[in-house]
Symmetry: C2
Subunit: 732 residues, 2 copies
């Protein structure tokens, strides 16, 4: 296995190496022993009902596990009808999987003892570690297992369930229904409750992994395992935070190419985000970055449990539609309209082919029915009409997906409607996705259960049926996305950039001076306003004429830092006359304030008039590494916080998505033919900054503000910038 | 009853009269006969199972109605064990309520016959009217009932349910559970299905009204009735559109002061909104206006059925909290964090009093529990700990509301937790609202049902529990709102404004000329940039000096309309010299293009530099009357559509809400101490335009663009405006 160590220090080259090895080749053998062990030892097994050591053995035995089970506890001779061993030393052979259900205080020493006796894969159930401030115990535990080449899941977990091995090695719920959804939970209590929720929703589980404090095995390895596990069709991830966001993102990105991941990330409220805020951080609250990262990785982020489970049911049971476009079949106009509203909300395209639909569907409805989409077969529509309409829609190649809606009528028999839909779907061999919604009372629950059991997810409201269809379409679009690598800019001289930084580091700087910032951005391939240095008045006039009016002028003097305070800056000089006046007035002003200032001349710069102020940069996130930021400048970024983030590096396609993400994008794109700015120029600049951010590890923050976007074809220009570098490490 | 006729013609004076009479005094006696008749005739009663005429009689009889039931149908002697009459003429006495279940073709003549026989209150079930293009039949029907002073609900309805009379006069579902929610549905199919849905959700119904085509009795009268009905604690309204939005808004506004109205308005998708769009309409899509109007009226608009029903359960069962602030009691950290995120989403304030909570709640949890809010009593928390925590929270005056969360644990007994919560709530006499969520599998449904039945709404996810709490808090805020009347501006000379419009009407104008627009806005009390007319060059210079530089100058000539094309406009004149050059150049340019133009001089105008461009105006909506619009000007309104709408007239408080509604509000309000514009000036101008829009019926559209907002205390200035007036009516 390739080890990918923490992210405190960003190590971009590894990122590329990492990606060259398919994730399923990286899976540690220890993970196999977590999910398909041939023997399981439970240290701390107990005959005391209600205790964790009791529940673990009971769940393993009652869950139908076929391997050997070794209860270990010096206090008992027998636990749950099995011989109980005094210690791991007494086992007939080391167990593939050793579960520690003992107190935190002794768990480390008992893990070490088990290691000495040959155990190599552990689950440490115990709480009382990092979550109560005893991070030292965790570090100790990791050191022990590393010493023996062993691995451990936990501490502070409720265990693992594996459908493949019929192994319920949790102290959670019994009677887990095997199926095709893999569940990873950082929260123990919620994870157990979610296992229950799947039972109630008819979702079967392929595996459950409680990841807890993640002292060794993390959600990333769990994701990799479930990604490679062919029983798992969809993955549900509950996560509160991660120390290694970049790795999570990379793994999720690989796995989500193969199967859907639905994630709930909690802790999104402003209060939490504000707590971690710094200057740029107030824009780049870590939750916003987390969200961005998950999206970049192709993960479907649900805002609440309902949405998450609704999507999971569709994603784990249905085929992904082959093209954009759904047809809604309904017996009620009202819910038809509601589903149309929802379709827009969830970016589901309602097919629009009135003539074709009229020809196809008219025979399924009375005269007053509506054969345009939604197909309203009216309250007269019974199982026969529903069946006909579904058959037609399923047979027609131009219809990729179907949403069925049913309003209970006085004499309607919901179960018959359900069966008609099930028959149609079976006839078509479930080639197309159907989501369903039934609204009504008596008999509706049974009909819904029938549909759900037959693999047609049925929901209590049209909105949910359409939301689930929306999740399928997000998957559809994700699968269509071809892999696109970030651009590599060979024209950027990284060595030259590093030299500038090294020089600054040598003198102990953490912020680069203006000329260094400019030089690095020039080397990165960004443009600047035309500018030059003039040694005297006539040179200044000639330079201004060469640059083109209007120009700005400021003094060039090593003695004057705050030029404005010295009256040494003049803007908007529109002709030779104004340049002359400005030159004389700057000189007079500087002399009057600092008689002996060394004056080397003036800097004359092009004024940019027709352009839009934007802001571009990146800053280093402790978990995700360099995060790019682009947004509207000036008042927009200050007040409206109209900025988009992406974890670097990003491909050209993602750059364009990022630009379009900002609310004010139409202002750049040129609504109504006005103000069409150089989007290609912006895109090129973002790609270059992305490359810079990932290649030059010593750069930790960059702000280009303002970054002026000129008209199409005219490029963009850096007006001002700030850069922060990693401080020189102290030698001990 | 005060009749409030259509809205084609806006009649603002009636609006005020209307509001002086409490809505419950306006309820027509006919509505009483709909809901509490002593006798019901069913014309078209049938013995044929499955027919509408059969279901109606069956539902009335089986529903336990205690009054007399008269089936009417010449084909039968007996229907459902009751004597069947040949015609309404044969009845022993006219029925209080006559339900017509006959074909559309004959329904009108049979209604007339029944009227002749003394019937005065009808439900016309028949479809085949306006919804299939036979609006004429509806008009005819209304004429008939009006002739006899009768009233009719329908056509195209499924009937009425009234818990008060145990009357299920619908052909919909049987076994309606009586309760305290009133249901009004414009859609028949959905209405029937919703009745079913209430059964499944444990919501009892006080009344159900199918309003269908609304030929006579509308959703407004239904709302008034349910508003006055003391059995009804909350109202659910499903509506697709209305011809008389203003009246709906006024009625809803009155009723929502007494009890909550939850509404679903479907047809919100852009496609639908675009269809009805006109120039300003593209900003003021009718759905946006509808949404605004419902919000102004204090209605809670749900975007989908789930939310709507979730809210209804809380609103119909729980007390409204007395103050802002909730405490969350949970046994799982994960769902605690999720609920905190949700609290922010639904504007529920999480109480923050760590010291107090530590003191109060520490005894309910082990050491590693968390006594700050959310109160995490941990997985160790059983019924005893939940009960203690609830008791403490319910007893503490500083805690106005509670959200309970439960994650199923391995050995947890959800039913015991439910009972603990129920006991606590009962001990506290249900004085404070509690919403609950339980996440888990086996046993969870039963525990949830137990809570629901005990009047503690329990939901399947923490998000829903918090969303329901959010609905209670919307109600809380609505109830705190004191009635505030729109400002009446006695300083506005409405007669003078009317005279200007009358003069324009006389010459057949529909758009007012610039000077008329300016004069009307001046009379309305709006400000303009300083300006004057100069007859010659020296006067122009003197005028410019008086106004203050910079100024703009344009020619004053009756012959020149498009001044810019004639080169007759100059902007940004900064001193006397520039004024002189501009004057000469304008004259030369005009002369060169139209030798004989009559030139009366130039208009010199103040240039406004430090200000923010906004847009202000109103346009007449066919359903809601004058709708005010305010937004950011220039590129914001063009591209970002950053505008807010309100149905006029509005109070000062609503004006401030409107200003704050726009996304760019911080730009006006002065984020970080910059650019603080004259919000009071904007607010005054909107109030004045609101008054103008409601008082001067002949004005149908006004656009002030740009409307420059100056710095605080400096006012706002009209730079340009357009007005459209109602055309003079043609005499026949």
């Amino acid at each position: 296995m390739v080890k990918w160590m923490g992210s405190k220090k960003r190590t971009p080259p590894k990122f590329y190496i990492f990606n060259l090895i398919p994730f399923w080749m990286r899976i540690d053998h220890a993970l196999d022993d977590l999910f398909t062990p041939e023997s399981v030892a439970v240290v701390g097994a107990s005959a005391k009902e209600g205790s964790i050591g009791y529940n673990l053995v009971r769940n393993i035995v009652e869950g139908g596990y076929a391997g050997k089970v070794f209860p270990v506890n010096p206090k008992y001779d027998e636990v749950h009808g099995l011989k109980c061993f005094k210690s791991t030393a007494d086992l007939p052979h080391p167990a593939d999987l050793t579960i520690m259900a003992v107190h935190a205080d002794i768990s480390n020493s008992m893990i070490e003892e088990a290691c000495k006796n040959g155990a190599r894969t552990f689950i440490n159930i115990a709480s009382g570690f990092g979550e109560v401030g005893r991070r030292d115990l965790e570090i100790k535990m990791r050191e022990i297992v590393r010493k023996y080449g062993a691995r451990v899941l936990g501490p502070n977990v409720f265990g693992v369930y594996s459908a493949r091995a019929s192994l319920n090695a949790t102290f959670g719920l019994r009677n887990v229904v095997p199926g095709n959804v893999g569940l990873i939970s950082q929260s123990g209590a919620l994870g157990i409750a979610l296992m229950g929720m799947t039972q109630n929703q008819g979702i079967g589980l392929s595996a459950v992994i409680s990841i807890g404090n993640k002292a060794d095995i993390s959600e990333c390895e769990a994701l990799e395992y479930l990604g490679a596990d062919d029983r798992t069709k969809a993955i549900f991830l509950y996560i509160e935070g991660t120390k290694d966001g970049r790795r999570l993102m990379e793994v999720a990105s690989e796995v989500s190419k193969i199967k859907p991941i639905v994630a709930i990330k909690s802790g999104s409220s402003v209060r939490g985000a504000l707590a971690a805020a710094s200057h740029t951080g107030s824009l780049a609250g870590s939750d916003k970055i987390f969200t961005t990262a998950l999206e970049q990785a192709g993960v479907l982020r649900a805002l609440n449990l309902n949405d998450g489970f609704n999507w999971l049911r569709a994603l784990s049971q249905l085929p992904i539609p082959g093209a954009e476009g759904v047809v809604v079949v309904t017996n009620g106009g009202g819910i038809g309209v509601m589903s149309t509203d929802s379709a827009e909300r969830y970016r589901v395209k309602m097919l629009d082919n009135r003539d074709l639909f009229e020809k196809m569907f008219r025979k399924t409805m009375p005269d007053y029915g509506n054969a345009s989409n939604p197909i309203d077969i009216t309250g007269q529509g019974k199982n026969k009409e529903y069946g006909m309409a579904f058959d037609i829609a399923l047979d027609e190649p131009k219809i990729p997906a179907i949403v069925g809606l049913y309003c209970q009528t006085a004499d309607g028999k919901p179960m018959e409607i359900a069966k008609a839909a099930i028959d149609s779907a079976a006839r078509s061999q479930h080639r197309k996705p159907i989501t369903f919604s039934m609204v009504g009372g008596k008999g509706i629950r049974d009909a819904m259960d029938e549909l759900n059991q037959a693999g047609i997810p049925c929901y209590g409201s049209p909105d949910e049926a359409m939301s689930a269809m929306g999740a399928l379409y997000k998957r559809h679009r994700r699968l269509l996305e071809e892999k696109e690598e970030p651009v590599v800019f060979n024209d950027i001289n990284l060595n030259a950039i590093q030299s500038i930084i090294d020089r600054a580091k040598e003198v102990g700087a953490t912020n680069l001076i203006e000329s260094d910032c400019n030089e690095i951005l020039r080397l990165t391939g960004l443009q600047f306003p035309k500018s030059g240095v003039a040694g005297n008045l006539d040179e200044a006039v000639a330079l201004a004429q060469k640059i083109g009016f209007p120009v700005a002028m400021k003094v060039l003097s090593p003695d004057i830092i705050h030029k404005t305070e010295f009256g040494a800056v003049r803007l908007d000089l529109e002709d030779e006359h104004e340049v002359r006046v400005a030159y004389e007035s700057i000189m007079a002003s500087v002399r009057s304030k600092m008689r002996n200032a060394r004056i080397e001349g003036v800097i004359v710069t092009e004024m940019i008039c027709e352009a839009t102020e934007t802001i571009l940069g990146f800053s280093e996130d402790p978990s995700f590494g360099p995060v790019l930021m682009f947004g509207m400048g000036g008042i927009y970024v200050e007040v409206l916080k109209d900025v988009a983030f992406r974890v670097a590096p990003i491909s050209g396609r993602e750059v364009m998505k990022m630009i379009r993400d900002i609310t004010s994008y139409p202002i750049l794109a040129g609504a109504r033919g006005k103000d069409f700015r150089d989007i290609d120029g912006i895109s090129d600049a973002i790609s270059r900054i992305s490359y810079l951010a990932t290649q030059v590890d010593d750069l930790v923050e960059l702000d280009i503000n303002p970054f002026m976007a000129l008209d199409k074809g005219m490029g963009c220009k850096v007006v001002d910038s700030r850069m922060t570098i990693r401080p020189k490490e102290m030698k001990s």
